[in-house]
Amino acid sequence: MDALLHVLVIGVLLGGIYGLVALGLNLIFGVIRIVNFAHGELVMLGMYGAYLAYSLLGLDAYVSILVVVPALFVVGLVVYRLVLQPLHGESSMQIFATFALVIIFQNVVLAVTRGEGYSVPSRIAGHTLELGDVRVTVSRLAILAAVTLAAVGLHLFLQRTMVGKSIRAVTQDRQAARLMGINVERTFMITFGVGSALAGLAGVLLAPIYTLSPGIGGNFILAAFAVVVLGGLGSVAGAYAGGMIVGIVEAFAGYYIDPELKQAIWFLIFLAVLIVRPSGLFGQPGAEEIGFREQE
């Protein structure tokens, strides 16, 4: 019986990880309608950023957030401006370009590091809290806290601030937003920057848990996409809930069925949900009507 509780806790914490990685992707996907396959690599850059901050500046992983997240914001702005904005209107080419970025990012990091598996230590990250029989590490709790705060923060940002409102306006109707005087291109650029910054946040918080490698982004990207789609396009609550669902399903499948099959199981559930509700759990029905045709 308390294995059940234990597995549930594991699932929720894992859900936090998936949700955090998916949050930035959800924003970019939902607003700009770009399938950013390089999102995993942005997370990877965040992880290596944390490593650099540690090895060059001696910063603890959690402190390096202050450095890495803004840095990734800038990276996002640059990537959008140089690569994605020129391809505006060509969705398929944008996908192609993000794949090219995956190859470039992964191999630049490989060339520089030779592929050695770095670890980023953190003094607080390793501590374990005991809640009854269940043991929980600070690192995973921090991620859960971060994804919750970030989701709430993102929600407030989108609802209450002018920039956030302009993002929502652009999401709903680009033409109308432009007519209202919103600089759509700049909004997209900022959105991509924020999404990348969120990826950087995920990277920093994940760094104490995993062994860094240039290809580690690929371990998360598929789950992140599944979470975004499952949760419903553009819905922050959806990404959060989607992450939880995937995490919990994976944890239960891994413990009670077979760790070897757990990935397949939650992918199947993902497919089942999608077939029943094509717009995702929290998405607006009809939101899935985003073919590769532009709105304008």
């Binding site: 294995a3 030779r114 592929g115 998360f220």
Partner: protein, 407 residues
């Protein structure tokens, strides 16, 4: 580091241009080294090539082989298709005389197959899949150990070293078998299970996981449920590290942790720290710090590596690669040529006892051309260092087991 790499590239290009003028293809023996030099396993491919290069440099310094210098040409291959293309390229453009490799078994499979059609020797130093020698390819010789050896040594360690240390009989031991789910982990685990059961050891359960998984708590909890004496894991660095961290977090404290294949490098030390690693056993390739009696020339290899690359070897595979290349050059010498049939004949005749080479290997090929004298060794992490503890002949003098059972 990127600038350094570019500098190397330019130097190599200039040297290559210069050398084409100086050394005619016939005066140099060219050996094609097929490995992943890019992609997720690039580190290990490069490490193997470094071992090859050191052996070649050493031999060239003393006159080369058959009066000719030796040159290594790299062929990058991360999957079977690339292996085929690499062999084609090395044969037709670089005119290599023989092949050596390979960190990935599937690549070795396809590449050696292609080499066979060019009638070129394929000398494998590191790939462990059993079928590489089982399939009976006429140009294939494996001088290094295979999956059977991994499994053998890991089980011998349990029965001959760990059981006494725990003051238990093998039939009273309970082992949890964990492994990553590709052919590497699976084939070793299959043999481990069979051997353990043969010795009367109880296998409480078998866990298979993806080495790239985001979470492995389920694997740890399932093992923890059975309360094993020995937790035996075969995998790669990412899953080793995550499993060890998770075990620590979840309070999973088996009396003995034994890792197979990986877990003996700085990467794992950095991940979990010396304190936690204390007492963990790792079955792996022989390390350069083995006793000179066990592996004559190991210390010299270490010195040469440090001189050439300004750091310690990243993984012990380089010593095995170095030894494998050394043996190849000797066999070519004995055969008087790089012709496949002659090399195979010379190799079949070779008979060197264990402890003839820096990795502790000997040479005696069976009828499938698998070297039967290529054992792994077992190290134990002690004080943040890897100390060879098994088999007894390999143990450094004065070394004893620490933290067994784990506190």
């Amino acid at each position: 580091m990127l600038a350094k790499g570019l500098k190397h590239l330019c130097t190599a290009a200039v040297l290559a241009a210069a050398m084409t003028g100086v050394a005619h293809a016939q005066n140099v023996i060219k050996i094609g080294a097929i490995n992943p030099y890019s992609g997720p396993l690039a580190l290990y491919g490069d490490e193997l090539a470094r071992g090859y290069q050191l052996a070649v440099d050493e031999r060239n310094a003393s006159g080369g082989v058959l009066g000719r210098k030796i040159e290594i040409v790299r062929g990058d291959a991360g999957n079977p298709q690339q292996g085929i293309a690499a062999v084609d390229q090395l044969v037709t453009r670089d005119k290599v005389d023989a092949f050596i490799g390979t960190y990935i078994s599937a690549v070795s499979n396809a590449a050696s197959d292609t080499a066979q059609r060019y009638n070129k020797l394929y000398w494998d130093t590191n790939a462990v899949a059993a079928e590489l020698t089982e399939r009976g390819l006429p140009n294939f010789i494996r001088v290094g150990p295979n999956a059977q050896n991994f499994a053998d040594m890991s089980v011998r360690a349990v029965v001959e070293m760990i059981a006494p240390a725990l003051k238990k009989q093998p039939k009273d031991l309970v082992v949890w078998l964990e492994h990553e789910d590709s052919i590497y982990g699976k084939s070793i685990a299959d043999i481990q299970k069979k051997l353990l059961e043969q010795k009367g050891v109880k296998v409480a359960g078998e866990g298979s996981h993806n080495f790239k998984a985001a979470d492995l708590t389920d694997a740890i909890l399932r093992a923890k449920r059975t309360n094993p004496d020995v937790w035996l894991q075969t995998g790669y660095v990412p899953d080793d590290n995550l499993l060890l961290k998770t075990a620590r977090e979840q309070g999973f404290k088996p009396p003995v942790i034994e890792l197979v294949g990986t877990g003996d490098t700085q990467e794992t030390l950095d991940a979990v720290g010396g304190d936690y690693l204390e007492g963990v056993f790792v079955v792996s390739y022989p390390r350069p710090d083995i006793s000179e009696k066990y592996g004559p020339g190991a210390a010299a290899f270490l010195a040469a590596y440090r001189k050439a690359y300004n750091r310690d070897p990243i993984a012990p595979q380089s010593l095995t690669a170095y030894t494998g290349m050394k043996i190849l050059l000797e066999v070519i010498d004995a055969a008087g040529s790089t012709d496949v049939a002659k090399v195979r004949a010379a190799a079949a005749k070779m008979d060197k006892p264990l402890h003839s080479y820096p990795s502790g290997f000997g040479v005696k090929f069976d009828d499938k051309f698998q070297n039967t004298r290529a054992p792994f060794t077992v190290i134990q992490w002690q004080g943040g260092k890897q100390v060879t503890v098994f088999p007894d002949e390999a143990r450094a003098s004065g070394a004893s087991l620490k933290n067994t059972p784990r506190k």
